[in-house]
């Protein structure tokens, strides 16, 4: 089991949970100064995000003895009583100062088997002179009604996609698997924040030192969710069912269009077909824009049909897919939008006129420099942004010299930073 084999032993190796880890360390440090007010912490969050790993690693980092009790142990009142007794003393055979009690899957305590278990845990937390870490998925489980107020909750969020991808790369390197970035990213994406399941997936699809991209597509996480790669095959091969299949992907049409446009050159190499397919993509984009501009949802259907059936109409009839093709995720469009967004958001202020404070600030600049607010937006703000990016104090001084108050300057520079 790679998930077990590569489980971090050090707290610093726990990925993507910096905030939680910092809180845990802070709490642990308090123990070195005596028994703190909060004797227990309650780690909560979805599966596979590193809660147990972090708890065990914290014990090691603090040089504490560690006793782990999870759902595989019987946790009835009577069986917990013994543990409860031992945590009231600090005597230890190993000579370590404290003993950390890690109680995993607290919300999974059985009502019948672990009868009275929760009450015993409460007793334990109340009387302990040793640190206790409780772990659960659902902070609001009724079973935690009492414990919630006795232990400090610390949240473990879903692990971010890029953090998962980084771990997958590292493990494939250690396991001598050729890292195929596309496949690893796809796995990271599918894991939906569950790092452990992503590692399990990686182990499952690594065959003879290679990640087989074909098999990565095989495991289906959610029911009814197809694969974008299959959809692209169907679209570019001109299948009648392509539109239907694409609609079921649970992917917004804007994103589907980007996947298609990105991969047109992968499938259509000759000038004429490529130009034709792009023509369709361009028209589909215009339909999508019209949906919002005219508030008419009917255009959506045309957009999807044009980007699927329209694009595919150039495919040679009856010729099946010769794949697999190296489809590429459409990152460039996202990058371009991100690059554009700050100025666009400033421009938005004009369009909606919703934000009176921004408009007032623009008007102040305009009055002082003899420009309309529109001209301020188009001919002044972009340069102010450049100056602000490089030398914020220079931009602020400019605004001050135009007679702006501190609050106004703060508001405007915040906008310039894109916040």
């Amino acid at each position: 089991m790679w998930a077990e084999k590569h489980r971090p032993r050090l707290l610093s190796e726990v990925r993507g949970q910096d905030e939680a880890v910092a809180q845990m360390r802070k709490w642990a440090k308090e123990w070195s100064k005596g028994t703190p007010r909060q004797k227990a912490i309650l780690l909560f969050g979805p599966a596979g995000t590193g809660k147990t790993t972090a708890a065990l690693a914290l014990g090691a980092e603090m040089n504490w003895d560690v006793l782990e009790i999870n759902a595989s142990d019987k946790r009835s009142q009577s069986s917990l009583e013994e543990v409860s007794r031992s945590c009231r003393t600090r005597y230890s055979f190993s000579g370590k100062p404290l003993k950390l009690y890690v109680i995993d899957e607290v919300d999974g305590m059985s009502g019948t088997e672990d009868k009275g278990g929760v009450r015993a845990l409460c007793e334990m937390v109340r009387n302990t002179v040793n640190p206790i870490i409780l772990i659960c998925n659902d902070l609001y489980s009724p079973k935690l009604r009492h414990l919630r107020s006795m232990a400090k909750p610390i949240q473990f969020g879903k692990t971010r996609k890029d953090a998962i991808a980084a771990v997958l790369r590292e493990i494939s390197r250690k396991e001598g698997v050729e890292p195929d970035f596309l496949a690893l990213n796809l796995m990271a994406e599918r894991a939906e924040g569950d790092l452990r399941s992503a590692i399990n997936d990686l182990e499952a699809v690594s065959i003879d030192g290679k990640v087989s991209r074909e098999s990565v597509r095989v495991p289906q996480k959610r029911k009814g969710e197809g694969s974008i790669f299959r959809a692209l095959d169907m679209i570019f091969d001109g299948y009648r069912e392509a539109a239907e299949y694409a609609r079921d992907l649970d992917l917004p049409p804007e994103q589907l269009l980007e996947w298609i446009a990105e991969n047109i050159p992968v499938r259509y190499a000759d000038d004429a077909s490529r130009a034709y397919a792009y023509e369709m993509a361009s028209l589909a984009d215009i339909q999508l824009a019209r949906v919002y501009r005219r508030m008419h949802w009917g255009f959506w259907g045309y957009a999807t049909d044009i980007m699927t059936r329209g694009v595919g109409s150039i495919a040679e009839a009856g010729r099946g897919s010769l794949g697999p093709y190296r489809y590429v995720p459409p990152r460039a469009y996202v990058q371009h939008r991100a690059r554009m967004s700050v100025l666009a958001s400033l421009a938005q202020a004009k369009v909606t006129e919703g934000e009176a404070s921004v408009m007032d600030a623009l008007r102040t600049i305009g009055a002082r420099c003899h420009m309309s607010t529109r001209t301020v937006l188009s001919d002044f703000m972009p340069y102010l942004k450049v100056i602000h990016d490089k030398r914020p104090e220079m931009a602020e001084s400019m605004l001050r010299s135009l007679g702006m108050a501190d609050a106004e300057i703060a508001m405007l520079t915040q906008r310039l930073r894109g916040e």
Partner: protein
Amino acid sequence: MQSELPWIEKYRPTELAQVAGQADVVRILSSFVSQKRMSHLIFAGPAGVGKTTCALILARKILGDDWRNNFLELNASDERGIDVVRTKIKTFCRSMVLGGSPFRIVFLDEVDNITSDSQHALRREMEQYTATSRFILSCNYSSKLIPPIQSRCVILRFTPLKREDLIPVLRRIAMAEGLDVDEAALDAIFYVSQGDMRQATNLLQAAHSFGERITSEMIYKISGEANPGDIRHLLALSLQGNFDKARQQLRTIMIEQGLSGVDLVSQMHREALRMEIEREKLADLLKLLAEYEFRLVEGSNDLLQCESLVAQICSLG
């Protein structure tokens, strides 16, 4: 900290003699100043060529010490409703000329943005208050004003600044601010600003935030315009039908510079005309550029539209 006015204000000319270019206009305005009289004026011309500056100088020179009290500046694109014309302007024109000024001046900027209803209201006021008030209307195109207004005014056309008008001004600013601006950077500023002094000055000030030495790369980076050489390269690759390289070039330009689709296409347009392209192909190319600039305005995904444009150019054959 020393306060730093935007240079467009810091270096705005206060004498007609300092106004760059516009020799014909300046000659007429100078005679107004020396005679302390003027008719209603229309300043027509593109952005950043001195219209507002000239209006401010006229006001100061003709109205004298009390110019602030007798000068009303309104920006028609912010205040374009008919009630502004009926209330603000009317109230201003009706009241007495203060101090030693010969009359009052109403300066309406971006006047081609006011509705034709307001223009008609304005027309009445222009004749009603000639005893006390003069109007200066500034606009990009005088033809957008209704004929009755045009006929009541002297129309003065401001032209885009030429290289020899713009660059000496930039040099003066650079000298005053202690900047080291090389010839290539000045050329870049002229290329990007296309004779718009406001843009040129803003560019220079923004570049100043990078340091004392200003290069052409900085200018292109700041302006959000691509280096013209990069655009020509993109066009050349597309015309050769080398789609993969052209798309790569396109993405480099658009993502690194944060260029909008419309900006890119209009720059392609500008560069295409300067390149050696056989005329049938150029005609097809221009049709495509026009069509895609339209689609960019209509559509939503800039990069996708531009890629499609490149794909179309590749298949021109």
